[in-house]
């Protein structure tokens, strides 16, 4: 296991040095989407489907954008603030909608995402329909991370931060207790053994929104731009698709899903609707034929033999 980890680490750290710029770009996008998807998975694991994750990503991205352009502060400050803003918003909505589960929860998050987007679009001070352009790249040790390669390492760091945070959080007693919130009955039982379920839900949601916010900020500085047309409902659904295709069996699932589909999507450039078409077909096929997701493919094949 640890050997495998080492290999992965080495590949992530060294491969970009050997690859052309475009591969670096793809790697960056893959890492960004993987980090987002992990957040979606974190909620799915609890039995909660977030259909508005892009809203929280947007909160992080816009925080970074406004801090570095409007206030002219260092990008690092924005990147540091982003998870706090997104996390706070997540905590807020989480504690308001803690009674909800199933599709009701999903739709409440979805509505929130739409409101966030509409607000950024409506308020000129927040960029309005045009969005906020001209974000600087943060500088590290005096060097602005202009090149794809340099920025790749920032993205990698952020992705690892998000991933490790959520992964370890699952391992804590808190994370374990989050498995008791699936149904109304189970939640009642959870309370009867002393789990303060509403607070747990709110904090869990805050955690994965904070992760989304952090990555959103890094994403924004990569694009050097944020706008309401980026973090849409369709982005949120894409993330869910990644998670489902990868498989909910383990933490690796969303990573695989995001990596495979994002890399694939980058190849289907000529016409956007072919991209969504391919995504959708894969999704349906997986859901019907391979409920465990790509994750379960190996043992499925073994069983086939």
């Amino acid at each position: 296991m640890n050997a495998a980890r080492l290999v992965v680490a080495l590949v992530l750290a060294l491969l970009p040095l050997l690859t052309p710029t475009y591969a670096q770009h793809v790697a960056i996008v893959v890492l960004i989407n993987a980090a987002y998807t992990v957040g979606v998975y974190f909620m799915l694991r609890m039995g909660y489907l977030t259909l508005g994750h892009a809203g929280y990503i947007a909160l992080g991205a816009y925080t970074a954008a406004l801090v570095s352009t409007r206030l002219g502060w260092s990008p690092w400050i924005g990147i540091a603030l982003a998870p706090l803003v997104a996390g706070a918003a997540g905590w807020g909505l989480g504690s308001l909608t803690m009674r909800l589960r199933g599709i009701y929860f999903s739709l409440s998050v979805f509505a929130f995402g739409e409101i966030v987007n509409a607000t950024f679009r409506a308020v000129p001070a927040l960029g309005g329909p045009a969005g906020v352009a001209g974000l600087p790249r943060p500088a590290f040790a005096g060097i602005a991370l202009e090149s794809h390669l340099a920025y790749y390492y920032l993205v990698l760091a952020a992705a690892l931060a998000c991933g490790t945070f959520l992964y370890r959080l699952q391992g804590t007693r808190f994370g374990f207790a989050l498995l008791t919130l699936r149904t109304a009955d189970e939640e009642r039982l959870a309370q009867s053994i002393g789990i303060d379920t509403p607070r747990y839900k709110a904090w869990a949601f805050a955690a994965c929104c904070a992760a989304a916010g952090l990555m959103g900020a890094v994403h924004a500085h990569y694009l050097r731009f944020v706008g309401p047309s980026i973090f849409t409902f369709l982005y949120s659904t894409d993330l869910v698709v990644f998670a489902m295709v990868g498989g909910l069996g383990s933490f690796a699932g969303p990573l695989i899903g995001a990596a495979v589909l994002t890399a694939l999507g980058e190849q289907l450039f000529s016409v956007g609707y072919y991209k969504s078409l391919v995504y959708a077909v894969i999704l349906i096929a997986i859901i019907l034929a391979l409920p465990g997701g790509l994750l379960s493919l190996p043992q499925r094949l073994r069983r086939a033999r």
Binding site: I103, L107, S108, A122, Y279, L283
Partner: protein, 286 residues
């Protein structure tokens, strides 16, 4: 805002509202029986309109024939989707939701490929404008609203007066018991989905001449329908109708008073408030 303007806004809101209801009703019906929020519903609506264009305008069929064909096709599609996707996934709400998202993506992207990006137009079924008390309203909208209204009434009767309706409500109450009482829940499920699809397609067909048509038109409608069924209460017909009219008016008056985005925020805000204060919706059972 002058009284005349307000009145005009109200009328437009009401008419749009009743048209939303047509689509939202299908959603709510399907949810009540199959317990799935069908994301593909907007695409059915789009294909309904697209169908009218292809058959009536492009192929030149007479309108009634085209209309009948579209409705039949949408019904069949509904039954097929239920068989192919909803039935095997019954009980797995997550997979169901995501599958319906997938179906909607497929339908939409295929339509972009097949029908292209050019806006399509359908000539008005009933040109002209009526004017009363300084309020002007297009005949075609009145027609659409009228048909929609009639259908809603019919649906209400169907659910509350017929055997099928009884079976539907029985399943909604308690599927297990209904099964034990010999209700063929599979048949009811596919019938319901067929019916829901038919309503959505009809909604599209009615709207076709009012607006222009493109493969993306489903998205906005489905978002609206979600808000409506949530506010009205998933599974409640009366609630859906009320919420539909409410949202229609909220949207048009809101846009009149504060502009389009403000109206959007208003509408989604209303949905969140309802979700927080009354998650089961205005008319939904807790």
């Amino acid at each position: 805002m002058t009284a005349a303007l307000l009145a005009q806004g109200l009328v437009i809101g009401l008419v749009n509202g009743i048209l939303y209801v047509l689509v939202a009703l299908g959603l709510t019906l399907i949810y009540g029986i199959v317990h799935i929020v069908n994301f593909a519903h907007g695409e059915v609506y789009m294909l309904g309109a697209m169908g009218i264009y292809v058959l009536h305008v492009a192929a030149g069929w007479p309108l009634p024939l085209a209309m009948a064909a579209v409705l039949a096709a949408s019904w069949a599609a509904g039954v097929a989707v239920e068989r192919a996707f909803f039935r095997p996934l019954r009980g797995q709400w997550l997979q169901l939701v995501v599958a319906s998202v997938g179906i909607s993506l497929i339908a939409q992207s295929l339509s972009w490929v097949i029908f292209g990006a050019q806006e399509k137009y359908v000539p008005s079924y009933l040109p002209g404008v009526v004017q009363a008390f300084g309020v002007r309203i297009q005949l075609e909208r009145l027609l659409a609203a009228g048909v929609a209204l009639a259908l809603v009434a019919g649906l209400y009767a169907l659910v509350h007066r017929t055997r099928l309706g009884m079976a539907m409500r029985a399943i909604e109450e308690d599927e297990e018991t209904a099964r034990m009482l010999g209700v063929d829940s599979d048949r009811v499920a596919s019938t319901t989905v067929g019916l829901g699809f038919l309503l959505a397609a009809l909604g599209g067909a009615l709207v076709a001449p009012i607006y222009s048509i493109n493969p993306g038109m489903g998205l906005e409608t489905i978002l609206m329908s979600f808000i409506i069924v949530i506010i009205g209460g998933l599974g409640s017909i009366t609630g859906t109708v009320l919420a539909g009219l409410l949202i229609g008016i909220l949207q048009s008056i809101g846009a009149l008073a504060f502009g389009a985005e403000a109206a959007t925020i208003l509408v989604f805000g209303a949905m969140i408030v309802v979700l927080i204060l009354r998650p089961q919706g205005l008319m939904g059972r807790a």
